[in-house]
């Protein structure tokens, strides 16, 4: 009998010190029955990729408010790939200008969410991304 659970790493790369949004989404995912590993503030891309490896997560959610997403996201994607984690889905949430989204998606990001996103949307997107039926 297998008892599969979706595991999600919620990380905050960069230097800004606000993790309210990250915590809200972490709790929403927990309440939707997911296992959420929360790593806290000021994570480097190396730290995020290492945690993703050790925790064997299905999904990495990045919360970025600093405006540095065009640098941070490709770096996280690189480090994940270096760790052999090409199959991990990456979601980005935060303040991301519309114009920057296509480049992030080209980089392999699965979805990008702005402020005020319905958390249920994120939950169902994640379930779809990792192919788990309700």
């Amino acid at each position: 009998m297998t008892d599969r659970k979706i595991r999600v790493l919620i990380a905050k790369p960069g230097l800004d010190g606000h993790d309210r949004g990250a915590k809200v989404i972490a709790r929403a995912l927990r309440d939707a029955g997911l296992e959420v590993i929360y790593t806290g503030l000021r994570q480097t891309p190396e730290m995020i990729a290492e945690a993703a490896l050790q925790e064997d997560v299905d999904v990495v959610g990045l919360s970025i408010l600093s405006g540095a997403h065009n640098v941070l996201v490709p770096s996280v994607m690189d480090k994940l790939a270096q760790n052999g984690l090409d199959d991990v889905r990456v979601f980005v949430g935060g303040i991301i200008p519309e114009d920057d989204i296509p480049a992030l998606k080209d980089n392999g990001v699965y979805a990008v969410y702005g402020p005020g996103t319905d958390t249920q949307q994120v939950v169902s997107d994640i379930k779809q991304a990792v192919n788990v039926q309700d």
């Binding site: 297998t2 659970k5 590993i37 290492e50």
Partner: protein, 342 residues
């Protein structure tokens, strides 16, 4: 799920290790094979349980402790350390928020450290039912020490005491310092007691209370109530207890956030390992744990077999008879079980 090579785990492939832990955690069919392949290569790791109430500073302490072990200059090669951080699964949603890594950021980037968060899943509040299997895999992967952080609550404490060689119980001041407020049972399971948050008022008081309680326990010649029993495993427990009477649990007062007192605590953890090995208690504990594991597995297997062979209609019929008070539950159980094992 792709095939996992047990040899890769032994060779230090961290991705293979991580994937294997997932396989174990999900009770994936590969789990059996991986454990069978790796089990012969285990028995080397020192398993250290760190338990206590939420918020006492266990994760902060583990961060400092592992850092101290990794920087230990007296050893030619610092020990490789794995951390299993167990947190409860919500019984309502089945989800879990695992936040112990927040306090362990200092350990990031050290290839000699591997941290894995684990939700308790089915096992309410306690260790996950696969925590012991996690320890087996990490042992085979060459970790010299496996630290298991678990929220201390009832059964969880007993579970961790039976899995770990060395149990560190963490308290913090401000939870009241009278004897009633110190939870029953911790003296029985603690090999080392820690009063954390020494920067806060009341830490000395808490430490003093713990020491008094320890002295009282040591001076009474009787085994504590929980240690009496008649089953095989209880005898083994008494065995351990008797041999352990020569180990007096030290009480450490520390400030984990500042790393104060960590060196002394690390030294005592090593001393306890040496003590277990010198007295032969290590082997007794190991035998006791394996017996328990085997007991539990056999129980699961028998139950599963019986459930598979069960005639559901007969079961419902007997249940109805119980509801109508024709059979007592014990008669009904005898009837249903004997029918199948004849």
């Amino acid at each position: 799920m792709s095939k996992i090579d047990p040899q890769a785990i032994q060779n230090g492939d961290r991705l293979a290790l991580s994937r294997a832990l997932t396989v174990i955690e999900n009770d994936d069919p590969q789990s059996l094979e991986i454990q069978a392949d790796l089990f012969p290569h285990t028995g080397q790791s020192h398993i250290v349980g760190v338990t206590g109430a939420p918020g006492t500073g266990k994760s902060t302490l583990v961060n400092q402790l592992v850092k101290a072990f990794r920087q230990n200059k007296s050893e030619t090669k610092p020990p490789k350390v794995a951390v299993i951080a167990v947190d409860p699964t919500s019984p309502f949603t089945g989800g879990a928020l695992l936040g112990d890594r927040i306090r362990m950021a200092d350990l990031s980037g050290d290839k000699g450290v591997f941290i894995r968060s684990m939700a308790s899943r089915g096992a309410l509040g306690g260790l996950a039912h696969n925590t012991a299997a996690f320890a087996t895999i990490l042992d085979a992967a060459g970790f010299d020490m496996i630290v298991i952080e678990t929220v201390g609550a009832g059964q969880a404490e007993v579970d961790v005491a039976q899995l770990a060689h060395t149990v560190v119980v963490v308290e913090a001041p401000g939870m009241g310092d009278d004897i009633q407020s110190i939870k029953a049972g911790i003296l029985e399971i603690a090999d080392i007691l820690v009063v954390n948050k020494a920067d806060r008022p009341g830490a000395d008081n808490t430490a003093r209370t713990l020491k008094v309680m320890l002295d009282m326990a040591q001076n009474s010649s009787n085994l504590p109530a929980g240690k009496h029993g008649t089953s095989n495993s209880d005898h083994l427990f008494q065995d351990i207890y008797i041999k352990q009477e020569t180990w007096k649990p030290p009480v450490h007062t520390i400030t984990a956030t500042e790393g104060k007192g960590i060196a002394g605590l690390a030294a005592d953890i090593q001393a306890h390992r040496a003590y277990l090995q010198d007295t032969g208690v290590w082997q007794i504990k190991e035998a006791h744990r394996l017996r328990r594991d085997l007991d539990a597995l056999i129980r699961d297997k028998l139950l599963q077999q019986w459930q598979q062979a069960l005639d559901q209609e007969q079961f419902e019929g007997v249940l109805q008879d119980v509801i109508e008070r024709k059979y007592s539950p014990i008669e009904a159980a005898n009837l249903l079980v004997h029918d199948k094992t004849k």
